[in-house]
């Protein structure tokens, strides 16, 4: 499936900002599961310097400095990405989860794709007894990892309410867990916390979701902003498998990967500091248009999300 992605973020400040230094992680990942054929980022005002490089987890980053005084900053990324179909067959056998736990402690690779990188608590994903215990219910001794993780994903989807009003970007995972509601970021953080609590490697994936139903497929929750889900390392055979607890589906060709990290703070699409006294407001518009519409329809920014309404 080929997608055209537009990701436009507008910051409005109460007072003029004279300086901003930002990191963008807006270029979709190039990997064996997807190919980026076009990508461009524009900012308004224009950046006085821009450095492109690869971030700690292999993600493409663009560091920009804006020195022109401004009260509104617009960042727009346009990409064309082909996601190669990758059907996940949950019936295929996988290792017992305890085996995965032992294996991941002894892996040699320290590269960003190594499970060793995603074993430990991180800034946004502490390990918390209640969350670990919630997860443990799906992990009976000897149960195959894919099977157990799938059940955990479904339970999260069933037990938790998707509610953009319930949490903010800074809400700790434990609070969202206690409230049993949140957005995709919370779903992902909770699932990661549960898995790591059990000693299993789990990564946070930031990306996009197909916006519109195609071929009779249902519309997915959280598609009007950037999305997040979880990668679980399922052993040497399976490798990393994407689980989307917000929708209780595997990340297959409806999911476009932007960046992978330990939690949101590693992969926030836009991160930065600016010099500006006063409040700020943010508006995010994301449009993900599958290829059948690519030629025929002009993209539009149909749905504008208010500040906390990310998925």
């Amino acid at each position: 499936m080929i997608y055209r992605v537009r990701h436009r973020t507008t910051y409005k400040y109460e007072r003029t900002s004279t300086y901003a230094r930002c990191v963008f992680r807006l270029q979709p990942e190039n990997s064996d599961r997807q190919t980026v054929s076009q990508h461009a980022v524009t900012t308004s005002p224009r950046a006085s310097s821009a450095i492109q490089r690869s971030g700690p987890f292999g993600e493409a980053t663009l560091t920009v400095v804006i020195e022109e005084p401004h009260k509104t900053m617009v960042v727009e990324a346009n990409s064309i990405v082909e996601v190669h179909s990758r059907a996940i067959d949950p019936g295929r056998p996988s290792d017992a989860w305890e085996t995965i736990r032992t294996q991941s402690l002894s892996v040699e690779s320290i590269e960003p794709t190594s499970p060793a990188a995603f074993l430990y608590p991180s800034v946004r994903v502490p390990i918390a007894d209640p969350i670990t215990d919630y997860g443990r219910e799906s992990f009976a001794p000897g149960r195959p990892i894919v099977d157990a993780a799938s059940e955990l994903m479904r339970r999260l989807h069933d037990d938790f309410t998707f509610d953009p009003e319930a949490t903010k970007v800074s809400t700790p995972a434990a609070d969202a867990f206690g409230a049993r509601r949140g957005v995709c970021q919370d779903f992902a953080h909770i699932m990661i916390s549960a898995l790591r609590g059990l000693g299993l490697p789990a990564a946070y994936v930031s990306g996009y979701l197909r916006t519109r139903p195609v071929d009779g497929r249902r519309d997915l929750t959280g598609s009007d902003a950037s999305h997040a889900w979880v990668n679980v390392w399922c052993g040497r055979e399976w490798g990393w498998v994407g689980f989307d607890p917000t929708n209780a589906v595997y990340a297959q060709d409806d999911h476009i990967v932007l960046a992978i990290g330990r939690d949101y703070s590693d992969v926030a699409p836009i991160d930065g500091i600016l010099m500006s006294p006063g409040d700020q407001a943010i508006k995010v518009e994301v449009d993900v248009i599958p290829s059948p519409e690519l030629a025929s329809q002009r993209p539009s920014y149909a749905r504008a999300a208010p500040i906390s309404a990310a998925s």
Binding site: T9, Y11, S17, T18, A20, R21, C22, V23, S49, I51, G55, P56, F57, T63, V75, R101, T102, S104, L105, S106, V107, E108, S109, I110, P112, S114, A116, A117, L119, Y120, P121, V123, I127, D129, T132, V169, S170, V183, G197, L198, G199, A225, S226, S265, A268, P269, I270, D271, G272, I273, L274, M275, S276, P277, Q280, I282, V284, I307, S308, A310
Partner: protein, 844 residues
Amino acid sequence: MAAETTSAHRERPALDPGAAARLSGWLRSYRPMPGIPDELFGADRRPRDNWLALLGGVAEFAEEEFNTRFAMATRHIRDTGVSYRVYGEEHERLWPLNSLPLVLSETEWSEIAAGVEQRARLMEALLQDIYGEASLLDEGALPAAALTGSPDFLRSMRGVKPRGGRYLQIYAADLGRGPDGRWWVLDDRAQGPSGAGYALENRLVLSRAFPMLYNSMNVQRLAPFFDQLRQGLAAAADRADPRICLLTPGPFSETYFEQAHLARYLGFLLVEGADLVVSDAKAYVRTIAGLKRADVILRRVDADFIDPLELNSRSRLGTPGLLEAVRSGGVSVLNMPGSGVLESKALLGFLPKLCRRLLDEELRMPNTATWWCGQTAERELVERHLDTVAIAPAFQGLGPDGVSTRPRLMSDLTDEQRGAFMRHWADRPGDYVGQEVVRLSTTPTLRDGQLAPAPFVLRVYAAATPDGIKIMPGGFCRTSEREDVRAISMGADVRTTDVWVIGDRPVERVTLLGGQDQVKVRRITGHLPSRAADNLFWLGRYLERAEATLRLVRSLCTSLMDSEAALHASGETLSKLQEILIDWGALDEEDPGDSASQATNRALLHRDTFGSVISLVRAARRTASSLRERLSADFWTLLTSLESRLENSSDALQSEAEALQCVEASLQTLAALAGLSQENMNRGAGWRFLDMGRRIERGINTCGFVRRLAGGTATIDDLDLLLDLVDTQITYRSRYLEGLALTPVRDIVMLDTLNTRSVGFQVLALKSHLESLPNLVEDGMPEAPLRIITPLAAEIATEEAEDLTEAKVFELEGELMNVSSAIEDRYFLQGANAVPTVKLAGLA
């Protein structure tokens, strides 16, 4: 350190009978703990020579004299040195000092030094591999998960070559002497080892307290090590004469004074994250002359906090973009961010093997036997011995079970803690190491005239220099007061001890004249950082404000005591005084005190009002504490003594006479401070900012007094009070025999530029300061502060006293405030135009 010689050969004259008795008494009653090595008694149960020499020397002093000497030296250093703590805080010093040093022979030391030197090389090689090729991991010599658990494993630093080629500038090892008498490494310190400043201070105390003893014992000097450290840092720069900064977390750090002391001792610029700015992938210091390159940064801020953009976004201690500058070689940050990974206990068990692999050498000094439980065999071993090994978190930070960050014995845990531990242990064994339980050796300390053994840990420092790794001959030693000598219970009741490495031969004369030809003559010591300028300016303002408030209080006091004036006690003048004190925040408007005498007390000592004298002096001291490396010891001592006088007087002033005495004494101290800054500070930009703060404050205050006391309806009492407040009585009386009259008073207080207290004098002084300060752009145009002060000076020069209406005075006062704002905007970080950096918020 001063040049000193020691006697060519060590003579040990026979002790006098009293001393001999003391010595033998100590030795008789000294009881090392059974089965534990002790520094005084060797394996042969006989006292070691160096210790006999030391104790013999100490025994020469009567107990009282010894204590007095030690106490005086300690107090002097405490008043001026690195250990000053905020008055009234619980701990006066982080680690109180023992009166006896730890004494080590040169032979023993050479073994320690060789062990630490090798370990520093090993650590450097380890970092080079981890952040470079990672061949150790590929070969399976080190599991990836033994690294990734450390919050200081900075993935973003992989593949980054440190400018200057080295990761570690300063490394330290915590050592203990094991049961077999050998030295063991307990912990590695690679983030930004603290304590070297304390070691310097400890040396200063003991060498001052017992100079003869110190000189007679061939104690190796510390100064050369610090020189080598400086050279090592300079070598990491890419230009000659580099600007080296010491990056501090700021005055709230518990070791801030140590950092300030080190910066001053080493001649480095002490900076906080906000003092630095990254531009074009280079780091710069904000100074009053604009941005100046920072070549090398010795950091005492944990890596996670140094760059809020790339690392911990909640950090307020860092500089956005600093890692980008490190990556592109625009600045050297040492130790290299990411070095802290070496402090993980998970690594300890791998080191013997890694040493052979990386250095092709056997590890000279063993570390505590440690098993990382992420490995199956090791986990099973620890599990079998769970009752006898200590369990510790494998990585820095709070233990995964939230219980403890230090090694603990299972038997020391409560049932609940043990339950929590067992659960986490089963799920996440990689979060733990098992460690052999270490019993520390002991060293003698003198307590209440008795010699008693105390368990200790010795921190030894290594610095990288172009000529290889150098070891500080001495160290930072901590002793525990507890009888329980297990290493794992160290932490509370800790004291520190100087470390004397005793040479066999006399110590070489330390000369500071070396390399004289290379020293370039310079008169200005670099550009003044904006933060320092800001603090100096406000220090000046606070001191002047405190002085003015004291004068107000003094007038209040004397008018109460003066029987004639007491008639006026309910009069206009007195209520004007009270009004001013309320306006200035020295008195609470709601509750100014029932009587004038109560008001006096409050304006002086009330802690809850921001304008009381005590509050102002505290503010001055707080400001000055951020300037420790720039103020003389005398200045600091005077200021802290002023603060303690007021603190001690709190609630204790019964009568006006007592209050007056306190006011007079305080004014004298302030006069001494003013004198010190006039006579003892060199005329660099720093002095100008201190003086400008004083001038601005005095100008504004005087305008305020004139408006209230020299308006159209002013009485003789008002004018008299005004002259008191601006300290111009004598000048006026000698000039005008006719007595008080409005116009001459206005002239002498506002316009007379010969009167050092007049507004006109302040304006001229300000103008001259501003003219001397550097311009940002050399276009010949005056900068904003000068554009305001120049017409003001002209106005003062041409104004006539008759025309000085209240409105006019008010206008001049406003102009002075504008000058102040313009100075803040132009030179400081925190000026009105400076805006806080904030994070972009929201899910993008």
